[in-house]
């Protein structure tokens, strides 16, 4: 982490995104923000409030409700030298832009034999636990992590949000930047002032432990930490790794931890089948089978089409710190 300034302040995740975007707009006039309600409305979470007044309508662009156009236009901007930051208002609406992300942005460098790059950031709030029902709760990472050429970042802490969003903006290739909306105002933390980056593809051990490795990202990192800290009182030592980046994935950090603890639990909010946990499990089985002292376990969403609106359905779909603690306890004692 290259920290330019020694001062810092306490921000929540919304404020961390806002500050980073503001500094990017300030420091580089190639930076453009486009999306639904990012201008006059100032984004539905007020992340870009008043940006349009300061930077003008040509750099803070309110778009029609047309996600394919948002990303398609942003791809063109990026290929021609701008630094667009496209916003998909909720990740649930990203599907119309699938072709522009997967078919165009992710393949630009390869298709043009390196002549063009696509320095594009696509920001989108994702995740549940906010009574968002079918259209405001989805996790989309597994739909995109199969795609080489696309980086996916999902930080959980304000300082990581800023460092990784800066890295995403600086990156010469497309980055899908996922912001868990339940953490937006829930999670606060110290954020260094000024410009700094955290390398994409680097996980962070948020809690050290030696009896079990828990790998997660997003909101569930916080819940996993809550569970692991509670288990500390029972004398159980659990290590919690925050992936921060989903692709590229920090295989080294996972393997190093698993080689120490010999047990691996993956928790994520996205569905289990074919999820990020499946890739991690396969990787660990390939690389470290003979270090494992227990079957790898995944605690993930069930295979149902969406998170329901009714609270019992949402709770059933989501995990909880208590559920995570139970799984951790079983695995440590296995």
């Amino acid at each position: 982490m290259a920290v330019a300034a020694s001062t810092s302040k306490i921000l929540n995740n919304v404020e961390a995104v806002r500050e980073t975007l503001y500094e990017a707009m300030k420091s580089d006039d190639r930076t453009v923000i486009l999306g639904e309600d990012v201008g006059n409305r100032g984004n539905v979470f007020l992340i870009t409030k008043d940006f349009v007044k300061e930077f003008g309508e040509e750099r803070v662009i309110d778009t029609p409700i047309a996600e394919a156009s948002i990303v398609g236009i942003a791809v063109g901007m990026a290929m021609e030298g701008l630094r667009p930051i496209a916003e998909i208002q909720f990740a649930d609406f990203i599907y119309p832009a699938f072709n522009q992300i997967v078919g165009e942005a992710a393949k630009t460098r390869y298709r043009s034999n390196g002549e063009y790059t696509c320095p594009l950031v696509i920001r989108t709030p994702y995740g549940g636990g906010v009574r968002g029902a079918l259209s405001h709760s989805v996790s989309i990472e597994a739909l995109f992590y199969h795609v080489p050429g696309l980086k996916i970042v999902a930080p959980a802490f304000p300082a990581d949000v800023k460092g990784l969003l800066n890295a995403a903006i600086d990156d010469p290739d497309p980055v899908l930047f996922l912001e868990h909306k339940k953490t937006y105002r829930l999670i606060k933390g110290e954020v260094p002032d000024g410009h700094y980056t955290i390398p994409i593809g680097k996980a962070d051990v948020k809690k050290q432990g030696n009896q079990l490795t828990v790998v997660s990202y997003g909101l569930y990192v916080h819940w996993a930490l809550e569970a692991a800290n509670a288990l500390e009182q029972e004398g159980l030592s659990v290590e919690v790794i925050d992936l921060r980046s989903i692709r590229p994935m920090d295989r080294g950090a996972i393997l190093e931890s698993v080689r120490k603890t010999r047990k691996l639990l993956i928790v994520h909010e996205d569905n289990k089948f074919g999820g990020i946990g499946a890739e991690i499990s396969a990787m660990v089985a390939e690389e470290a089978l003979f270090e494992l002292d227990a079957p790898i376990r995944r605690l993930c969403a069930p295979d149902v089409p969406a998170m329901g609106y009714a609270l019992p359905l949402e709770e059933e779909y989501m995990s909880s710190p208590a559920e995570m603690a139970d799984a951790m306890r079983e695995m440590v004692r296995f």
Binding site: R262, L289, F290, E291, L292, D293, A294, E330, R333, F334
Partner: protein, 477 residues
């Protein structure tokens, strides 16, 4: 349903087998995978696991009888089937071609010895087996009894547990698990590994008993890793066995003993043995080993004995004297291409000579690990047919029990066999006529006089002596 068990084929080329011992008698119940009979061929001794759970209804072949592979040897009634009757609609008997559910190959490897000439006992540079919870008989390994539970512990062992157990030479079945449902955890293995050496002090070294000598084998501590062959329980009247000889009784020859006898006679009668001995100053090697042994054991899990240093010197000398790495045939002297060193290992009831393949390509460390593995496997009856094949020269670490000189019998048509005798501190007159206290060891050579004469043999011994004396007191293993 009744299942007929047939004589398994214990090897690619094997056509018949001998029922060595019934581990169950008619009427006993057997668990699936539980060993119920021991069979042998001239290559392999193996316990045969039951293919089904049930009752051993009938024994069709008596102990000591040799039958062709595929011959029915027993009938097991599966659990739930009424004895002697068959449930309507089921097959009357199910022929099980290979009694074991395992492949022929794995069966052939399950327990295995190929006895050969050479009659002495090497030191056992084998890591002790420890137990998290020392068991009642004071020995770390509990192969005997509760076989089913132990085997299930083995099958449930995680990859990490298996790997650690392998690295530390620990029998998973001997460990009391602290995990869920008594599962053996990786930490349990590490704990056992840490406790191992301390727990095993005083019982480890004399694994072999010198069955060529007059000493009473029963006086020796039982091996720390007895193969899972329950000692025969003396019946009414008492049964004398090799492991528990009873004065005034006759021990029936098992096939291992018979083959050892045949091959000893064959070697001694066909190869005219000549014998020679040199005295070697091993003080520097001794110092070198002393300096390295703790770290070596920590790093590899194997004890560092004098054996790998000795083998290294032997292969270097063989390179200078290729005639010593040769064999007499009717067509001529077959000079071997490879240098594969057999290590004679005495076990309580037999002798095995596993082979360090291409030992001339290995460093001292490589030899130490390879021989450590083989010795470990030998003690656990896990040597494969391959481990025992292709030896071109044999080394016998004979000094462990204090032997000062010995005349070994040449192994399987090779040109020679050398022994390392006991290392003793002696006053020695040095080159400048001073008297010094040095570590001295005799090296004895038996040679096939058809292959080489005294000229070559003494040259070989002199070269070997020079190399051993030039080794150490430091260097890279």
């Amino acid at each position: 349903m009744a299942t007929t068990i047939t004589m398994p084929q214990l090897g690619e080329t094997v056509t018949e087998g001998t029922v060595e011992r019934w581990l169950k008698k008619a009427g006993d119940s057997v668990e699936k995978y539980e060993s119920f009979v021991e069979v042998s061929t001239d290559k392999v001794n193996s316990e045969v696991p039951a293919p089904v759970t049930g009752t051993l209804r009938e024994i069709l072949v008596q102990e000591g009888t040799t039958v062709p592979t595929g011959t029915p040897i027993a009938v097991i009634d599966e659990v739930g089937a009424a004895t002697g009757t068959n449930a309507p609609g089921t097959e009357p008997t199910q022929q099980v071609a290979n009694a074991a559910p395992e492949s022929r190959e794995s069966m052939a490897q399950s327990a295995n010895f190929e006895p050969v000439p050479g009659f002495n006992i090497p030191e056992m540079p084998v890591k002790h087996v420890g137990s998290a919870q020392p068991v009642s008989n004071g020995h770390a390994v509990v192969h005997q009894g509760n076989g089913a539970a132990a085997e299930s512990a083995l099958r449930g062992a995680s990859p990490a547990v298996r790997k650690l157990a392998r690295e530390h030479h620990i029998d998973i079945r001997a460990i009391r698990g602290t995990g869920a449902n008594g599962r053996v955890t990786a930490d349990d293995v590490l704990t056992a590994a840490r406790m191992g050496p301390a727990a095993a002090v005083g019982q480890a070294i004399s694994v072999g008993t010198n069955f060529g000598a007059t000493g009473a084998p029963a006086a020796m501590p039982p091996p720390a890793a007895t193969p899972p062959k329950a000692p025969a329980t003396p019946g009414p009247g008492g049964t004398s066995t090799y492991g528990e000889p009873i004065p005034g009784t006759l021990i029936p020859l098992n096939s291992a003993r018979r083959i050892i006898a045949e091959r000893m006679v064959e070697s001694k009668h066909t190869a005219p043995h000549a014998w020679s001995m040199v005295e070697v100053d091993v003080s520097n090697v001794w110092k070198w080993r002393a300096r390295e042994k703790d770290k070596f054991e920590r790093d590899t899990g194997y004890k560092l004995t004098l054996l790998p240093f000795f083998i290294r010197a032997v292969v270097e000398s063989l390179a200078v004297f290729p005639l010593m790495n040769a064999k007499f045939t009717a067509e001529g002297i077959a000079v071997e291409k490879n240098v594969n060193i057999g290590i004679a290992i005495g076990l309580p009831t037999n002798l095995v000579v596993p082979v360090v393949k291409n030992a001339d390509k290995l460093s001292i460390k490589g030899i130490a690990i390879a021989s450590g593995e083989l010795i470990d496997k030998a003690r656990r009856s896990k040597l494969s047919a391959d481990d025992l094949q292709s030896g071109t020269f044999t080394v016998n670490n004979n000094g462990a029990n204090g032997s000062y000189a010995s005349a070994p019998i040449i192994n399987g048509g090779q040109a020679g066999i050398v022994t390392m005798e006991t290392v003793v501190k002696k006053p020695v007159v040095t080159a400048d006529d001073a008297i010094a206290i040095r570590h001295m060891m005799n090296v004895c050579l038996s040679l096939d006089h058809r292959v080489v004469d005294g000229y070559v043999a003494s040259g070989f011994l002199a070269d070997l002596k020079k190399r051993l004396e030039g080794m150490g007191p430091s260097g890279v293993l």
